[in-house]
Amino acid sequence: MQPADLPQAKVSIQDLSLQYADGTESLRGISFDIPANQITVLFGPAGGGKSTLLRCLNRLNDLTEVKKLDGKILIEGENILDPKTDVIALRRRVGMVFARPVVLPFSIRSNLTYGLELAGERRKSRLTEAVERSLSQAALWEEVKDRLDDPAIALSGGQQQRLCLARVLALQPAIILLDEPTSGLDPISTGKVEASLQELKKTYTVVLVPHSVQQAARTADFAAFFLQGELVEYAHGEEAFTNPKDQRTEDYVTGRFG
Amino acid sequence: MKKSLTWREYVITRAIKVSGYSAIVFVGLIFFFLLREGLPVFGEVPISTLFNTRWYPIEEYYGILPLITGSLIVTIGAALVAIPFGIGTAVYIAEVSPRWMREVLKPLVELLGGLPSVVLGFLGILVLSPYLRVLLDLPTGLSALAGALLLGGIAIPTIVSIAEDALDAVPRSYREGAWALGATRWQTIWRVTFPAAKSGVLTAIMLGVGRAIGETMTVMMVTGNAPVLAILPGSILSPVRTMTATIAAEMGEVASGSVHYHVLFFIGMVLFLISLIVNIAASSVVFRSKKRAERILS
């Protein structure tokens, strides 16, 4: 079940099932491809398994107690669920922005260089270059360029979230995961984040869990509708919202439930 | 580069894990060394001598009953002082006093907990026991009573601190529910808050009294150090000798490996077991109530 003309796949998810240790089943037999250099939106009502899937893509679910995990996730052909995978390298390649902005208790600059320093980067020129580049890409450079050494906590909520995005970009990942990144933001900040996503997809593969159907419709190149751990429909963005094939998708996007 | 990082990480993680188990290792080591030095006693002294009423090591009388009763009477006396005052103060701080006063009183009481016991013993000798001697017309003020009063003072900070935490942890909604039903604050304290915090208060009492049993320097300095059987309530006014004080006073003068040495370690073993029982009992109360709280919350 996927659009016939899907561009070249960056990520290929094959028959992925996941069950948490507390017995709740979160994903059942998910298979679909995520295309490179597009914005793929995972949407649907809460508890559908979107965030769980996101956390599988960079193995952040290793931190939670998972009872059962079957299937494969191929990123550029390599199965990242393989126990032999270097998860640290994987997480540098697959960055994640969370629902609530969590700035680390450092300066703005140190927030941005944190990931690179963990990776062993010590060259000052590289770090400085990464700070400017990532801030520009996240549309934050102009606002903070004169106070890079201020504590990051002093930024506004919207700025903090863009800093979190920039922090991921500083590592130059291949894939960016965003889990309801604008749920706590005002409309103007939301607009800025959405605008930068459109820029970013030229360089990166973007996977977004939006915080509303409207945002899904605005941003999606491709859209996957999740309901209770199952992938119900996967289509071109426009098609999923204007002409859904599945009744359940239609009910959801027209606001009959959810 | 990458390789060395993971190698370092591995070593550090190992070291942290090993340190994590250190508490178990030390409890085990302490028990082992007490057994090693204390168990030979059973081959050297008949049990009937050991559980006799005469402690006079120079003539090889090793009856530890006077020491046990000495510890008991001082501890009971301390509990009678510390429980009402400790709990009363905890209730006052948690329920009656204004918030700012709590911020002053609690650190102050905990400060007493930090006073070295040798200082309290010192004041016991110079101030408390002369006062008791005159007040109660005793031959000497260095008595079980002086020990009990000071030990009470040592147990109070523990009791106040833990009991106050327990009272403070009772959800505000419980209290508001009782007030809404027309109960006064006083009724609410005794019928709602206090019962809700019961297990925490119980833990406080056990740990406070446990501290009193194990206290050494203060009792050694003020109880007069007479190893006589103390069973009548009247013994509270006469000098006694506790288990802890006996070890502290005599260990310095015995030859290691002698019978006397082994007996002192045997007393240490008894003390260790008492503290083990008290603490396991106290912590099981905590664990049980925590589980209950988790059930209520989920």
Binding site: N58, L60, A89, F98, V102, L104, P105, Y114, L118, A119, R167, V168, L171 | L5, E9, A15, S19, G20, S22, A23, I24, F26, V27, I30, F33, L34, E37, P84, F85, G88, T89, Y92, V96, L105, V109, L111, L112, G114, L115, S117, V118, V119, G121, F122, L123, L126, V127, T184, W186, G214, T216, M217, M221, I247, S256, F265, V278, N279, I280, A282
Partner: protein, 287 residues
């Protein structure tokens, strides 16, 4: 009828509250008096000579320098062993330990360590460090004994401080490619440091004031010189106070009070430092 009832309840409450207030006063006033009394009585005895000179005339004159230095040595020695071990154990419990029976056993062991009578630590130190490991009656043996006694305080306080660092910091760090240890070292530990420091100071404060554990492991009745190595025995303030108040006849009373004053200044000074560290860190905290 109803009115009488409510007046009655009012009176009960008022009496009850007064009663509790009196209990609190009776508990708190002696604490303050003890401290003030020692300051008043001991103050006149304390002079530069008192804290900087060796004792002479059978300790009935001169200063208490060796006891002060000894207590400082013992406190440092205790810190050397107990601080790294205690913090590492706290990191294990807060960051690594699974929620299972073994971890519960560790917690029970910590609670028990905290409850073992101090004189039993003394016996243990005598058995293991002085005799079995043949360290002799020494600063080393006494410090090791005190550090094991201090360990539960440091572990509990440090674990609480580590746990209070918000979980999302860890998740973010891991998601940026951090290993667990990198996350601990760069974020969790620095943020928990003030709390850990408070716990460490409170633990060492207890060690500095203890007498029973060092009685047979490292304390010297009288030493006419400062200890030269960790294998020397040493004088120490709490033991010295015990000695001069019970073992030395015709001891001038001012010297006794002066020694008590120096001891509580030492111990309560650490307590106050801990309180200040804690409250300043709370004011500065960003979360």
């Amino acid at each position: 009828m109803k009115r009488f009832f409510s007046i009655d309840r009012d009176i009960v409450q008022r009496l009850g509250f007064s009663f509790l207030t009196i209990m609190a006063v009776v508990t708190v006033v002696p604490i303050i008096s003890v401290v003030i009394y020692i300051i008043v009585q001991g103050g006149p005895a304390v002079s530069w000579e008192f804290i900087s000179a060796m004792p002479h005339d059978g300790m009935r004159a001169g200063g208490i320098l060796p006891a002060i230095i000894g207590t400082i040595y013992l406190t440092i020695g205790t810190a050397v062993f107990s601080v790294p071990l205690g913090i590492a154990a706290a990191i294990y419990l807060s960051e690594y330990a699974p929620d299972n029976r073994l971890t519960q056993l560790i917690r029970v062991a910590i609670i028990n360590l905290a409850g073992i009578p101090s004189v039993v630590y003394g016996l243990f130190g005598l058995g293991l460090f002085v005799l079995f490991l043949k360290f002799g009656t020494s600063i080393l043996a006494a410090s090791l004994t005190l550090s094991i006694m201090t360990l539960p305080v440091i572990i509990s306080a440090s674990e609480e401080a580590l746990r209070s660092v918000p979980q999302p910091f860890r998740t973010v760090s891991i998601s940026l490619g951090g290993t667990r240890w990198q996350t601990i070292r760069r974020i969790v530990l620095p943020e928990a440091l003030p709390g850990i420091l408070t716990g460490v100071i409170l633990g060492l404060e207890r060690a500095a004031g203890e007498t029973a554990p060092i009685l047979f492991t490292g304390a010297a009745f009288f030493l006419p010189r400062l200890p030269g190595s960790v294998f020397d025995a040493t004088m120490a303030l709490p033991y010295h106070l015990f000695v001069i108040s019970t073992q030395v006849p015709e001891m001038p009373i001012q010297i006794q009070y002066g020694t008590a004053l120096v001891l509580i200044v030492f111990v309560l000074g650490m307590n106050i430092i801990a309180t200040v560290v804690r409250s300043r860190a709370r004011a500065k905290r960003q979360w």
